[in-house]
Amino acid sequence: DVKVTQSSRYLVKRTGEKVFLECVQDMDHENMFWYRQDPGLGLRLIYFSYDVKMKEKGDIPEGYSVSREKKERFSLILESASTNQTSMYLCASSPPRQGSYGYTFGSGTRLTVV
């Protein structure tokens, strides 16, 4: 069964810590995405990547960075965590062809910054 795996289901971090959220997909997908989900705001795109070592900013990139050194892995980095980054983070992957329904989502990481 193909899947997107997020390494942590729940995380609690302190303000100012550097936080890594990891995402791995086993479908050989070119595209990978990081979203955050907040009540009433839906899912907002943070960063996405079309290929190894390539990245593009989404709608809310401030305070975040990403790394894609291998095709199957896409990491989201909070350089200095703040309380307003407490949220649910969802990773997704898809093949490159536009119109494909092949967006597969991970189960999410619920991050709490205290």
Partner: protein, 112 residues
Amino acid sequence: AQSVAQPEDQVNVAEGNPLTVKCTYSVSGNPYLFWYVQYPNRGLQFLLKYITGDNLVKGSYGFEAEFNKSQTSFHLKKPSALVSDSALYFCAVILGRGKLIFGQGTELSVKP
């Protein structure tokens, strides 16, 4: 700006009644539209998509959606709701290069 909107935060339906979850979009060109469902503490699951062709699209779990170009809408429907349909529903549209953007989400509550 290109966007997708879900005007209702919550929809309440009695079991056995038909349900509609609304979605409108604002994109240039021909839209590629999707519906996803999220059950508590789970990731998003694909329900259905509209790319081209028949305006009535059928998807998983008995759901269907109607694409209306003149009204720029893509409402999700089901003829007879089940309690197990209670979940959070998201409408989404693909922008250039496969970037998927979402509406705010609508919480569907189906009561026995």
